[in-house]
Symmetry: C2
Subunit: 302 residues, 2 copies
DNA sequence: CACATTGATAGACAAAGGTTATCAACCGAG
DNA sequence: CTCGGTTGATAACCTTTGTCTATCAATGTG
């Protein structure tokens, strides 16, 4: 049995007339006759009772008609679903991300992506860079978001820069420093500085320490909080300042402003890279990177 | 796209290897290659990523695999369903019956039929004989159960005798007449006789009147009740006797016994006929008549 | 490096679907 | 009742296409 048999059968059942059905199908009536007969032989059941003046369905034919319609409909559905998946408009995408760094930028980007591709189910998987590359290799994630220059990537991966941004000083809008267009890192030596730490050695807190250390700036001990949310709350309340990508927003928004850092240096420029397995990029993954790059433009810069 | 493409695709997806899949399908590997390629072209989506050492599914392929399996399963299901319907093991059967006459006999017969053909949905449609024949003609019912000799049927119908039984006198088991092996109709002239009447002119009550009248027997007025249930209750309670097919049982059972009628005559012999449209007999209908006939034997006679 | 394995390709062949021409059966109008 | 006009079935021919064998390039393995 082939789908052709089902298509022909449904056409005959719909017109109750071989000749008209053959016309609709753009085949000759004998061809149709033969196919229906073959179908009946294959099933071992008569589907139509032939009278001059047309045909009527047997009970077996009526039963088979329902199912045949259903099958054809499902084939149609399967086709469009496969095409949608091919085009990256449907499917599942697991994105590995670095918790703190990407969070502020990713939230609106994900929203934009979901709006454009509602049939895609995106899952976020936060993990350190090394774990992400391993996850990429075995196919547990399709896209990894990491920081740092592309040159540092092992071979076998392709990448695209999703975001390149100078980091900035985050202060409450009522803060004394908020009145200044730009701020020197030196000036933070007397400020209360807050950083995120998960207890590890490579978190936000440690990264800020490194920035100060590279310039020989002595500073007050950096207060550590356990999450970005807490940090934003502290900064928004004027209880401290921090150094962040200027995309991070507090919940209530508008209470935090970013100010340019007067110093320069590669370590003040953050590259957010989308990474995927070389040659293993699905259209879905490409669409995702596309949307991320578009968001970079829309969100603007400091 | 044909079912062949789906079958081949599923086979490849299951083995992840063209050669082994081709083996399972009993076709050559190039034939399989071509069909898969045709499928991919038809879908406009790549289904496999070919590596030496085997193939892996693309996301589109994974999506399509689920649906393809589903489609093939449904085709399988549709086939068995059509075959079951053809064989009369599944489907819908509407049986027209004469309320009073067939009720007692039909209940156990229906139970037997449902037990043997659980996938068949039987509907009972009670109506007078003339309505039943009309319903048969237009296909509203597939089988009609009527009384009387087959000769009285209009042409265009076939029939089979499902039951031929002498009617009998129904009395309560404690009734004086219950002690007798057979009873003359004459003896009922002094009894309280009960009959079913729906107000029409062709009911059970009128039929009994006719039996008495044909033999010139004067009798006390026949008490009319509006249903078989009521009649059985009255008889079981010893408040009267009646003339019935000896298949009728009261709810509680055992309290009513049937006694042979001493007189003879064609009007004491009831024929229950199954009637169907000539040539329009489905296997389902034949099975139904078959079961009914078998029940006749099992239920025995007076 | 030789060898075995993978899937893809080319050409030949046969099965099978499609076409045209024609048939018997039936219905309805004249 | 006969005569078109309809129904679906059949036969013979043609064309498409699914399949086969033989072979290839690419890749992994001893």
């Amino acid at each position: 049995m082939e789908l052709r048999h089902l298509r022909y059968f449904v056409a005959v059942a719909e017109t109750m007339n071989y000749r008209r059905a053959a016309e609709h199908l753009h085949v000759s009536q004998p061809a149709l006759s033969k196919q229906i007969k073959d179908l009946e032989n294959d099933l071992g059941a008569q589907l139509f009772i032939r009278n001059t003046g047309g045909v009527v369905l047997t009970p077996a034919g009526a039963s088979f008609l329902e199912d045949a319609r259903d099958v054809l409909e499902r084939v149609e559905f399967a086709t469009t679903a496969a095409r949608a998946t091919e085009a990256g408009r449907a499917g599942r995408l697991v994105v590995g991300s670095l918790g703190g760094v990407s969070a502020g930028f990713l939230a609106p980007a994900l929203a934009a992506f979901s709006a454009e591709f509602p049939q895609v189910e995106v899952t976020l998987h936060e993990a350190p860079v090394s774990d992400q590359l391993q996850a990429l290799r075995v196919g547990r994630i399709q896209i990894a978001l990491t920081t740092g220059p592309a040159t540092a990537l092992p071979s076998g991966f392709d990448s695209a820069e999703v975001l390149a941004s100078r980091i900035a000083v985050a202060v409450a809008c009522e803060h004394r420093l908020a009145a200044r267009p730009s701020i020197s890192l030196m000036e933070l030596s007397t400020e209360s500085v807050v950083g995120v730490s998960d207890g590890g050695r490579a978190g936000h807190q440690q990264w800020m320490e490194g920035i100060f250390a590279a310039r020989g700036i002595r500073h007050r001990p950096i207060k550590a909080v356990n999450g970005l949310e807490s940090l934003m709350a502290l900064v928004a309340g004027g209880h401290g300042v921090s150094i962040l990508l200027p995309y991070m927003r507090a919940r209530g928004d508008n209470t935090i402003v970013y100010r340019r850092i007067k110093e320069s240096g590669d370590d003040l420029l953050v590259h957010l890279m989308a990474v995927w397995r070389k040659g293993g990029g699905s259209q879905l993954a490409r669409n995702f990177v596309e949307v991320l790059s578009a968001c970079r433009v829309k969100q603007g810069r400091i």
